[in-house]
Symmetry: C2
Subunit: 392 residues, 2 copies
């Protein structure tokens, strides 16, 4: 087969550098996906491929009673203040499934999105055969989504022969960590008879999110991003009206939900999502503390000359984007170029800043202790002092 024995041996002993105890990982996609001890406990128990399916009697994952998957999905719906929950393989698959089904039942041609949407929203729409119409943001430095522009764009699309199948809002975006209130938009969507999809990949599971109160019809989230699950697993939560439309059955296998292609999730992805759920229920109540720590860190970092927070102020989320021309200037002179920052932080026990980037950096303080956030602030101050950046 031409397989090299040395390469094969490497696969057998994979190790993860960033998992060493004591390291602080600031990667925004990772902070909400770190397993609590009780989820780590189920990894070995449910490690085998189809471990969840031992007592599947109906050929439907959402109907399994041992372990209590059916109860769990009910509880998850209640926690999110929605009627029906299905699991998908990723948050983006939840969006795609909803779009495929809505397009089939409604026959529209476009999806209206905010311009801070995740790239996968654009892919899901394109793969579903829909044109993407974008609501602008205010640009540098706030990049605030202009919620007021949705209505005009919906009308323009409707009148211009490109009727939307749905409207999507990114609850907290992945670039600046700006929080959007869906309620004013929900009112507009209701008036136009359009379902509102809330992408809660960065919010549900880390902060309190109650879909019905927010007026959304479909709420999608990411288990590996924000629910302390190994994943990959997405959450597709719906009102019952929209669920009837989205969870259409296969014509040849009427027990199976067509666009889910049957049961999407199993094994450790689901077992860790379930095991972490009590932890998630507790942690969302501590959200005000999380925001306080994020704001504190921004205050500390902005004392370094050439570091400024982008996005709306003050922070309402733990995902922080910083414009860092001071650090970029250092990188230009440094023999390691852009990698100097990553390496200097790593030498101080901090990882998760994208290696090579210094013009803008992103990080998240989610789940860090006061002491850990202080260590991060000190590390940046220390690096600033080493390279002669003034600190006030």
């Amino acid at each position: 087969m031409g397989l090299d024995a040395g390469r094969l041996a490497r696969y057998r002993s994979l190790r993860r550098e960033a998992a060493r105890p004591g390291l602080i990982n600031l990667n925004p996609i990772q902070r909400g996906g770190i397993l609590p001890p009780e989820a780590r406990e189920v990894l070995r128990e449910f490690g085998d491929g189809y471990s969840i399916c031992d007592f599947c009697l109906k050929g439907r994952m959402d109907a399994i009673r041992r372990p209590p998957v059916a109860d769990f999905l009910d509880d998850l719906a209640s926690f999110l203040d929605m009627d029906v929950v299905r699991l998908t393989n990723r948050c983006r698959d939840a969006v795609f499934i909803a779009l495929m089904a809505l397009r089939r039942s409604r026959g529209g041609r476009s999806l209206i999105v905010d311009s801070n949407s995740h790239y996968s929203t654009y892919l899901a729409a394109e793969a579903a055969g829909l044109e993407v119409l974008e609501v602008p943001n205010t640009g540098h430095p706030e990049y605030k989504v202009v919620i007021g522009a949705y209505e005009g764009l919906i009308e323009e699309a409707e009148e211009g022969g490109r009727p939307p199948v749905a409207v999507l809002l990114t609850h907290v975006d992945p670039y600046y960590g700006n929080l959007n209130d869906p309620r004013p938009l929900a009112k507009i969507c209701r008036e136009h008879g359009l379902p509102l999809i809330l992408n809660a990949a960065y919010t549900a599971g880390v902060m309190p999110v109650r879909g019905r109160e927010l007026g959304v019809d479909i709420l999608v989230s990411s288990g590996h991003k924000s629910w302390a699950s190994s994943g990959p697993v997405g959450i597709l939560a719906m009102s019952s009206e929209v669920a009837d439309e989205v969870l259409v059955r296969s014509s040849s296998f009427p027990d199976k939900e067509l666009y889910l292609l049957g049961c999407p999730v199993l094994g450790v992805a689901l077992a860790t999502l379930m095991a972490s759920f009590p932890h998630v229920v507790e942690r969302v109540a501590r959200w005000p503390d999380e925001v306080r720590r994020a704001r504190w860190l921004v205050g500390q970092l902005e004392r370094i000359e050439g570091i400024r927070q982008l996005g709306t102020r003050p922070k309402e989320h733990t995902l922080i984007c910083l414009e860092t021309p001071g650090l970029h200037e250092v990188a230009r002179r440094h023999k390691r170029r852009g990698f100097f920052l990553y390496e200097e932080l790593k030498a101080r026990g901090i990882v998760g800043i994208q290696p090579g980037l210094t013009r803008r950096i992103k990080l998240s303080t989610y789940g860090l202790t006061d002491e850990e956030v202080q260590r991060v602030a000190e590390a940046f101050r220390d690096i600033a002092a080493k390279y002669g950046l003034p600190v006030s």
Copy 2:
């Protein structure tokens, strides 16, 4: 939120009965997905959601070098004797992605499949907007796919305004464990300019499968079913010509592969697939022993009156379907009805037969030792004796 504390506590301490040491699990969907020790080792290391992405520099999972994902995908392609491999969330997603892309590039209207196809093949085709045209099988007791009927059906579809986008063959089907040789069909597909998709969910990863030698253009498989991975993870292996067609890029994010919706797999699903790969490479070489054990067990079980193997004879795969009218007769008189067999087997340390079924049962001997297969035969003989079924 109305969440019950007792229910929450249950999620925190999930346990898996069927994972107890010493139990023999005969479930055909599970035998190929049991992790070897080296894969169990990486579960904790890579348990966190985005653990694979620590050193992602290009925003493409297939380009990650630490851990060596890019090398692994090359080795996987070489092992399968195909040109290009991508991972998907499930085998069925690999089929769906291929169909969506082929339909877009070729504009066909149908998919030709064998009538022993997995239900998810029908769902993937329907979700992709394709009509399913079915090649028959010979019916009871062999249920052998009539490979010779493909050509006529292809021509009928082409002439009847329902041009196929592709042809699909299930390498070993999930109902009878019949093995189909794709080579004669590959020749017909080439003549008609149609890509041949081989569903190798029950073959690649457990027995030797070399796609190019078999003449297939697309080979799909299931990591949690047959590659000793926690999953969910699917394998989409292609010839380079078809890969160019299937791996179309997004118009708005040209680095991203459209129908994959970006990176599909991460965390333990991928880490266990990689860690198990050397084990998989070794085990496929032991396939003749696996078939020998399956045949031996069939011989033993057929000595019980009212048990007969369905599907082609002799077995060429470890998935065994048995017609069991003798056991069904016992169930009719038993106070536990159809559950008696499950319970009698479990009392003898054997699980994995679908609880409640006695008319037909399915099991797999894959990966069992000689001694374990003997224990299975003895358990059935013992149950036959207890309920007065003659054994020759």
